[in-house]
Every structure is written in C-alpha cells, then in structure tokens.
Symmetry: C2
Subunit: 225 residues, 2 copies
C-alpha cells in the first residue's frame, strides 16, 4: 500500500493537471503539492518528468491497445475473412475508446492528452506513441482499407485524419464547447450524446465523393468572381 499509493496519487494528479494545462505549464511542484507527495517522489519513482508523462499515457494506452486488439480479434473471427463494414469498425473503436477511461477518470482527460500528444512541439511524444502502440493502429487502418476499397489510399489516409481531428478537437475541448452550447442552446450534452451526433457525420465524411482533380484548375487568389 505504501508503494503504490504515492505512485498512483502522482499519476492521478498528473494526468488531470496535464490535461488541464499542458505539459510545460504543469510543474512537478504543482503535481506533488496537489497530490500531497514529496517533490522528489516523481524523480524517485519515474526518473524524470518526461518519463512521468509517458507513464501517464501508458496507463491509458496499455489497456486500450490490449482491448482493441482483442476486439478486432473477435471481429475478424465473426466475419471470418469477409470484409468488416466501415460502420462496424468505427463502432468498435468508439466502444473501446469509451470502455477504457470509464474504469478510471474521464474520457475528456484521455482525449485531451491525445490532443496534446499530437499538437506537441517536436512530436517526440507522438513518435513514442507511434512506436509503442503503432501495431494496433496499423491493424485498424488495414481493416478500414479493406472496408473502403473504392477510396484511394491517400484519400483514405487524409479522411481518417480529418475524422481524428474532429474527434480529438471536439472531445478534448469538450468543456469549452459545452459552455458555448449550453449558453446558446440551453441544453445539456453528454459524451454519449456527442458520439451519437458524431456517428453519421463521420460515416458521411468517409463516404463523401472524391475531390475534383485540379490539374487544370486556375488560381483566383484576389477576386471573388
């Protein structure tokens, strides 16, 4: 109890503060004082601030990649060779993403962390994630490729990232958007509600008609007509 208590309190506090204020803006003194833990404990248990950041991610991504792998196992077994429909793939990913943080804090924190990882300075955090958990994402995109055979590879790549942007931006900035939405429309909005709204949008976006070729397209930088 002595061991894990400090470590867990550090991780619990760190992930909240990181999500709220980013990595650079969150000092170890912020974390340790709020966690009511000695300052040196972070360097003692994790080695460095960077290692703590990675540990925060690992606590989410380890169970996620595990569950997502086995969910895809189930799916491939059920469809036994046949292509898995896009909607099913997206639904499976959404379900898995929702499962993991449900056990601990909140989806918002998880998404905010993901957003930070992507928009981070030199992207060394994104590379860490890619290196550590790239397998499961490759597996997923491969299944998506088979589900959308008419989409050129590059087009599918960009559309997947378009949708990744939608999801990360929306769910990581949830509090801000919720403020605006509630002020303007006087409605509460839950995460499940948001996912329900996201579903048709994402499907429609992935199935959108291909863009026009621009080989002969003229520049018109200044005038509007």
């Amino acid at each position: 109890m002595a061991q894990s208590d400090t470590v867990t309190r550090i991780l619990d506090t760190a992930e909240v503060l990181f999500a709220e204020r980013g990595f650079a803006e969150t000092s170890l003194r912020n974390i340790t004082s709020k966690a009511r833990v000695n300052l040196a404990a972070v360097n003692y248990h994790f080695g460095s601030k960077k290692a703590l950041i990675q540990a925060v991610f690992a606590r989410y991504l380890d169970p996620f990649s595990q569950r997502f792998h086995s969910a895809l196992d189930d799916l491939e077994a059920r469809y036994s060779g046949r292509d898995i429909p896009l909607e099913v793939l997206l639904e499976t990913m959404a379900t898995t993403v929702l499962e993991v943080p449900a056990e601990r804090n909140s989806l918002k924190v998880f998404m905010r962390l993901l957003g930070l990882a992507y928009s981070q300075a030199q992207g060394h955090l994104r590379r860490y994630i890619q290196q550590e958990y790239g397998d499961v994402f490759s597996r997923f995109t491969d299944l998506v490729r088979r589900a959308t055979p008419d989409l050129p590879d590059a087009e599918r790549f960009w559309r997947l990232h378009f949708m990744l942007g939608t999801v990360i931006f929306t769910l990581s900035g949830l509090d801000a958007l919720r403020d605006i939405a509630e002020k303007d429309y006087r409605q509460q909005v839950s995460v499940r509600d948001l996912i329900r709204r996201l579903r048709p949008v994402v499907v429609a976006a992935m199935n959108a008609p291909l863009p026009v070729e621009l080989d002969m397209e003229l520049r018109e930088d200044t005038a509007t007509g």
Copy 2:
C-alpha cells in the same frame, strides 16, 4: 524605420517560434536573440509576453476579420436577400483564410496559432479572440443557419465545430501529417491540395443525415453483440 523595425522583427520571429513550439516553450530570450533584438525590447514595446502573444494574433486576425466582413458584404449584396448556398459560404471562408497569410508568412503558421489558441490552458486566449473578433463569426454562423434550414440549431452548432476541429487539427498539425503521408505514400501534399480534399468531406459532413434519437436506446457497455 528605427521604430517599426524592432517591433516587426519581434513579431515576425515570435509568430514563427510560437507556431513551432507553443507559447510556454518559447522564451523571450529565444525570440529576442533570434530576432537579434535586445531582451528588454519586448517588454518595452508590448508590455508583457502575454501582450506580445495577443499582438501576434491581432496581426493576422485584424486583416482577416476586415476582409471576411467585406467578403460577406459582397456575398449578401450579390444574393440580395436570397439565402447563400452552404458551398459558397464555405468557399468564401476558405478563400479569405487563404488570402491573409499569403501576404506574409504561411498559412501553416496561422493555423498552428489558431490551434494553439483553442487548445490552450484556461482558454483565455480563445476568449480574447471571441471577444475581439466574435462579431464576424456570429455573422458567418448566422448565414450558415439560413443556408441549412433543415438542420436543428444544436446539430448545426456541433457540426460546425466538428469541421472546425478537422480543419484546425489537419492544418495546424500539417508538418507531422505530411511526414507520415510522404513516408507512407511518397507524395507531396500542398495546402491547396489539402483544401481540395477537405471540401467534399466538409460538405458531406454538414449534409449528413440526422442522428438517430436515443430515447429508447439501451446501454450495451461491455458486450459487442
């Protein structure tokens, strides 16, 4: 020349460094040394680091909101009362967004700054933008409302922000995505190319069918079927 030279050099350098590394990760010493300007010049000319950040934004957003306002003037005059189609509205916004940074540095910097503003700590930067430039955005969303009369207000609100997320995430993380795309698909991708790809996706997303009601929807948290 003496006056504006230092101020301009500070702004030019600051916007690049901010876009590359974020606000907290960019020190005044980074800026002033790279701009070959004295350290105290920032506090002398701008008052504080926070004021410098806002000045960097203002240099983009002032001309943007000006041009966008007059572009919407033109549009409303041309359509004289009739509703402006969604595609035209989106195209106009895209054109204006592309125009402004073309005069100076790069669109990437502008978008990266916008992304930072949205994903920033307490959102005080987002509030500053909302307060300073909220008018033109309200005007735009109002026109979008008239262009999509079948969409419930709340649904339109969320879809607009979904798409905002797509655009900001994609264009602000452009370098990272370009890296991946070029490594995987051996293709160069320009900003214009990306906007061409974004257009049908955004239109399809806005016109997606409404989500199903979930009044009677059962929870199914664990099992997949």
